[in-house]
């Protein structure tokens, strides 16, 4: 199982990084999404993997997993959700502002044009 999870993390990270090295905002947002999955899985995995051991206090003999990483991941999921939403809207706004979904900064002459406005 550990192999699978590790491989999944690796694949998600690699594809995420590949996509954020793009030049179009939307692609980058997708990439960030993948990166988030990878990060959350990783953080989760640092609590070690356990099967059929939910973090619910019951029979003390029953095996149980480490609840802390789960709690952290929960927070991380929420935060990254907010970030994703924000990035998407910023992408839309940026598209309407500059008429392109390019992510690179405007060159000096465009800057001057901006100032003239």
């Amino acid at each position: 199982m550990e192999w699978l999870v590790a491989a999944a993390i690796a694949t998600l990270t690699a594809s995420g990084v590949y996509l954020i090295l793009a030049q179009r905002t939307y692609t980058i947002v997708i990439g960030l999404g993948l990166l988030t999955y990878a990060t959350n899985l990783f953080l989760f995995a640092t609590g070690r993997l356990a099967v059929n051991a939910p973090p619910i206090v019951g029979d003390p003999q029953a095996p149980h997993t480490d609840p802390i990483p789960q709690a952290l991941v929960l927070t991380a999921i929420v935060i990254s959700f907010g970030m994703t939403a924000l990035t998407l809207v910023m992408a839309v706004r940026g598209y309407f502002e500059s008429g392109g979904d390019d992510v690179d900064l405007l060159g000096p002459e465009e800057e001057v044009a901006k100032e003239r406005r």
């Binding site: 609590g47 952290l72 990035t87 910023m90 000096p108 800057e111 901006k114 003239r116």
Partner: protein
């Protein structure tokens, strides 16, 4: 129960939703509450700084759990000073924004409050994951402020800023995961203790985790080559926002100081190893050089100011990286100075931009504008402070760093110099000269050179409120200069406290867990 420690976080955390919820249609009330909360924060910061001056490390166990189970806030001299600095800056920004830029878009003041909440939390928390949470708060608030007012260039720069920082957050989480996965704790003090007790077989993973944290703090602190977010962001943000961001880089610097002084003191706790290798000094040198090159080659005032901010971080990082108590003291002094100076610079540039209609901050000759004399004088003084020429605090700060680098500062714990200090002297002095040349060029161009054909500008935005804000920051720098003696004493003791982390550990974990003298 000493509730003072939670207030710097709680106050803005209450005021901000209030502004967003109840007062968002009432500008007067919004402004009143915003300024009021800032003033309270300044007073609070002053009080906490005084409180911390007795050298005790105070803790606040949220939910009454106490570390390492629950989250703990920790107040020592450094944290107190940072709180005071943040509030001081925040007040200046809030005042300046009254001149109209808070109307450029909705929610300026709530975001400002949230920003301060995040900053204060980051300075106070004693828990690594909680630090992450507060980083996210101050970051997302800064995203909002960054795009405040809109505009094509600004939104794009904002997107880049957001994306880079999101990558940074992922790195932070991975680093945290590694650290938890090896030490099994998130509490900073507990981590510092456990880091020294882990099995040798785990040390590589632990060190990698620490490395990733260093990288994240490095991104925040804009250490070259992790600095790329800074120039575009600062140069494209609205004036007061850029001014506020002067503190953002300092959060990274603070985190570096905090985490590594905690792990310092024992060879086995190889975290200090990062500093033993002195890499940060050379990172600082690179930052200083890149920043200075930027100052000289800048095409616009805002760009120049951004690079000035970068350069000042370089100087600061050199001091932090040297990692001697004397340097630590000098670093804190310079940190405060550079924050105030760079912020004031951005504010005065904003005043210029609002008068040079059609020319903005481009470094080209523009017609004479209203209040030119007063603004020119202010710019001159602030530029001097930023470059680090006398008489303002910049000069003292640089002198402190220079002499501490050579290990000849009499005060503090002394401590030897840094290897290769003559080179560092050279770099710092030569870059100062280049900065001087750069600012002399832009200043003469903007204030003296006039195109023959064009008539004088008539745009006359408010002058009083902005000048009050800038004056407030300037006054603080003057105070830093006049009271340099007492200030350096305080900072010497602060550095002393940082380099004897035992107090911190015992305060958070109790004698036993802190594991004897290190």
């Amino acid at each position: 129960m000493n509730h003072w420690l939670i207030l710097p976080i709680l106050l803005p955390a209450i005021v901000a939703p209030l502004l967003a919820l109840a007062l968002r249609h009432d500008l007067i009330m919004t402004r009143t509450f915003s300024i009021g909360s800032m003033v309270l924060l300044v007073l609070l910061g002053g009080y906490l700084t005084a409180m911390a001056s007795d050298g005790a490390t105070r803790t606040y166990a949220l939910g009454e759990w106490g570390g390492p189970v629950g989250i703990v806030l920790v107040l020592d001299r450094l944290a107190a000073v940072m709180l005071l600095l943040t509030a001081t800056l925040g007040l200046g920004i809030a005042i300046y924004s009254l001149s109209g830029c808070d109307k450029a878009g909705p929610h300026f003041h709530p975001l400002l409050q949230f920003q301060l909440m995040g900053l204060n939390g980051a300075f106070l928390t004693g828990d690594l994951f909680n630090l992450f949470v507060f980083f996210e708060i101050l970051l997302i608030a800064s995203y909002g402020l960054m795009v405040h007012g809109g505009g094509a260039a600004r939104v794009r720069a904002g997107l880049q800023y957001v994306m880079i920082n999101l990558v940074g957050s992922s790195i932070f989480l991975i680093g945290l995961g590694l650290i938890y996965g090896v030490t099994g704790t998130l509490n900073m003090a507990d981590f510092a203790v456990k880091a020294k007790q882990i099995a040798a077989a785990d040390s590589a993973l632990l060190q990698t985790g620490i490395a990733l944290l260093v990288a994240v703090f490095g991104i925040k602190a804009a250490v070259v080559p992790l600095h790329f977010w800074l120039p575009g962001t600062y140069a494209n943000a609205a004036g007061p926002v850029a001014a506020l961001f002067a503190i953002m880089t300092k959060v990274g610097a603070y985190a570096l100081i905090r985490v590594f002084t905690l792990c310092h003191g024992d060879a086995a706790g190889g975290a200090a190893d990062w500093f033993a290798s002195g890499w940060l000094v050379w990172g600082g040198v690179a930052t200083l050089i890149v920043g200075t090159i930027g100052i000289v080659g800048a095409r616009s005032l805002n760009q120049q100011a951004s690079f000035a901010g970068l350069a000042s971080m370089g100087t600061l990082l050199i001091a932090i990286g040297g990692f001697t108590p004397a340097l630590g003291s000098a670093a804190i002094y310079y940190l405060i100075h550079s924050t105030l100076a760079v912020a004031a610079l951005f504010l005065v540039i904003d005043m210029i931009i609002r008068r040079r209609t059609g020319f903005g901050d481009a470094l080209v000759a523009a017609p004479r504008f209203v209040h030119g004399g007063l603004i020119a004088a202010t710019f001159f003084v602030i530029a001097i402070a930023v470059i680090g020429l006398p008489p303002l605090s910049g000069f003292i700060g640089k002198l402190l760093i220079l002499s501490a680098l050579a290990g000849q500062t009499s005060g503090g714990e002394g401590g030897g110099g840094v290897a290769g200090w003559p080179w560092l002297w050279g770099v710092i002095l030569v870059t100062s000269l280049l900065a001087l040349i750069g600012f002399a060029f832009s200043g003469t161009l903007v204030f003296w050179r006039r195109p023959s054909d064009k008539p004088a500008e008539t745009a006359s935005p408010p002058i009083v409120v902005p000048m009050v804000a800038v004056g407030w920051l300037l006054a603080c720098m003057v105070l830093m200069t006049l009271l340099a003696g007492p200030a350096t004493d305080y900072f010497d003791q602060t550095a002393g406290q940082l380099f004897r982390p035992q107090g911190y550990l015992e305060a958070t974990l109790g004698e036993a867990a802190a594991g004897g003298g290190s």
